[in-house]
Subunit: 409 residues, 2 copies
């Protein structure tokens, strides 16, 4: 599968992930935090890599986020990422910070690198101290070759996710093949401004750190920050991109003729991971995409899209395959954006359901049958301008209630 | 049951409603919009009454809201309210406006009053034209004595509500007994800034219209606007207060020594209706109250309260009787209010679950057993100032999903 861009071709590789780029290895194991499933994973680069990160806007930032941000601030480089699942190390006070730092130091020692070159992150239950005995024993063993498998890493970062999320792309810059690979986990508390969403992206591009960070922020705003599962923004959200330069290209900056191509590649990776998180939202049966066009600004388009995809009434209607355009229109109407009721057009798939302030005649069974698909697209044209945005989410189901009435986050 | 205030005593009458004040009658009937249940109701005052209204902030205002607001603007008085359920007359374009006006005129003619003295409102399915034949036939008959029962009115305004919502209070001003009575309907699309929430309050107080409106806005912000069922703000929300002056008191204004007592009475009525709407939210099994204190402003307290009560994760945890303080803390943390993590204290009922950035030791079974009650109170102290606010909502259950995956709003 290839996607043409202005300057280049980007090859999308659905079965690749964080070890697609040169110089990365990844692994994972069961260290004992969870009952059975893998719960400790790593990515390691052969050489220190430029790093860019975006973090939750929740005031309660989990301990590992604090530790990682402080470490990255030192020289904007890391060489490794260590992740545990099953315990978020959030709301754990001073001891939580000490534990995150201990985890970081111990893994740095195993690797023989400086402590601040290791990023640590955690996802799972809030408010319980990390079981440091399990984690320390795990760190002692995890670099053994039996655990070194990209698949293990992708498994080890999951919580209530039902599947791994991965994607890879390749493009050519300065005659060199540049690879970008990603892995992520969802699946509840997802309404990022940065959810318990973790995203890890690796590339072998040689790229200026400040430009990488600018690109990540930009891309995150179009991708990870445009998904919602339940409107809850977690304490642990984090997306990290590592760029180790081993592709051997001239350093990429904003002024490089192929800059946009790289950013497009990064965006494809982040968007694919974001959509997979939305599709695998707790209890979800469908991926729902809201494409808003004709807005007077990008922010207005985003706000309308997020308002619709966040509506419990829209989400339950889609679960029930009910072509309930009234709830879509209502959610657009309370978004806070001054839309013009008589200009608004709404389509469910190819079926126009609302325009000029009135519902359109539809064959209910046709639209219902469209809604039975796993991927539902709703088009909203505000007819007020030239800006657009897309938001992704999922339906709201019995299983969402079941999972969350019993699972202790 | 009585409640002492600074100036007076307010007697609360749980079984009274809109005909408690002097000079009001109410009724309702089945006119054929719904299959069987009552669907057309009225309140009529013997004399024109000062009126104050608050309306949905949704950009898509339903036709009857537009017609009613225009009519009220003429002289800030009405003598009657006509309500239908089963059809919201929203997203119905020009014809919808004509239908709302026709309904208004026809009822005014039956009563022998000017058209603009009738407020009309509708609740139910969006985007279908009103069945004017049923409504017109209904209006022809509804003033017959067989339909004149307050109980009928309270029934006729319901949609997916499982019960009527009513309350009355009495207080004494200038030696005269003043009564205030109210009735309301919920129960989905409830996140007022004005939900499909309709509230009707009557009083026999003689009161200046502009002061009545100021009091209603103030009280609504503390009551109806502090409840949520699903975060969706409907196209049809409206609260109307009629004051016909038949109690014979000197005209109440802000300067009257008993002004605060009247406002307290109005607040009790609105708060009780609001709480009943929250408790009867679609599929709800519990009323959840979030009491926020220690905020640096009232707005901050409200924002934190609404953020917590709007969280699907908090709502499902309460349904599952799971003392999941982590979700409460998380929702406070993403509210946008700059709270201080180490100052925050959270209690579930009498059980303190979080302080100084850390969970408190609890006997899980005790808190679980508290959460099994029908009324759950969560206390959140921000310890940053002296302001407080209360928000109300309900749990999120299988039945919410069931109702909304199949019901066409």
């Amino acid at each position: 599968m290839t996607q043409a861009t202005s300057t280049n071709k980007i090859v999308i590789l659905g079965n690749e992930s964080v070890t697609l780029p040169k110089g990365y290895k990844a692994g994972g194991m069961h260290c004992g935090i969870k009952k059975k499933r893998l719960d400790l994973g790593y990515i390691v680069s052969e050489v220190p890599a430029a790093v860019a990160g975006v973090y939750t806007t929740n005031i309660f930032q989990a301990a590992p986020l604090i530790v990682t941000q402080e470490s990255i601030a030192k020289e904007n480089k890391i060489q490794a990422i260590l992740v545990n699942s099953g315990n978020a190390n959030a709301c754990t006070g001073e001891q939580g910070l000490l534990d995150a730092a201990e985890m970081q130091k111990k893994f740095a020692d195993e690797l023989g690198v400086q402590q601040h070159l290791v990023a640590v992150t955690s996802t799972g239950v809030i408010g319980e101290l990390l079981p440091m005995d399990c984690i320390n024993t795990g760190i002692n063993q995890i670099l053994q070759s039996e655990y070194e498998q990209e698949e293990n890493f992708k498994q080890a970062i999951l919580t209530t996710d039902t599947c791994i999320k991965q994607i890879g792309v390749q493009l050519t810059i300065d005659g060199k093949t540049i690879s970008i690979g990603g892995a992520a986990k969802g699946s509840g508390m997802i309404h990022p401004n940065m959810a318990t969403m973790l995203g890890f992206v690796t590339t072998d591009a040689n790229i200026a750190q400040e430009d990488l960070l600018a690109a990540l922020k930009d891309v995150t705003n179009q991708t990870f920050n445009m998904i919602t599962v339940d409107g809850d923004t977690s304490t642990n959200d984090m997306v990290l991109v590592m760029a180790n330069g081993l592709a051997g290209n001239e350093q990429l900056t904003k002024d490089h003729p192929d800059w946009d191509c790289f950013v497009d590649g990064l965006e494809i990776v982040c968007k694919e991971l974001a959509k997979k998180i939305a599709r695998d939202g707790e209890g979800a049966t469908k991926l729902v995409e809201i494409q808003v066009s004709g807005a007077f600004s990008t922010d207005a388009a985003k706000t309308v899209g997020k308002s619709i995809i966040s509506s419990n009434l829209v989400k339950t209607a889609i679960y029930g395959t009910d072509p309930n355009w009234g709830r879509i229109v209502t959610a657009a109407g309370y978004s806070g954006v001054p839309i013009e009721p008589n200009l608004l057009e709404v389509s469910i798939g190819q079926y126009k359901v609302f325009e000029k302030g009135l519902p359109c005649p539809i064959v209910e069974e046709e639209v219902k049958s469209y809604l039975e698909q796993e991927n539902v697209v709703i088009y909203v044209n505000l007819n007020q301008g030239d800006y657009s945005a897309t938001a992704w989410g999922c339906d709201l189901t019995y299983d969402y209630v079941k999972i969350n009435a019993s699972y202790r986050t």
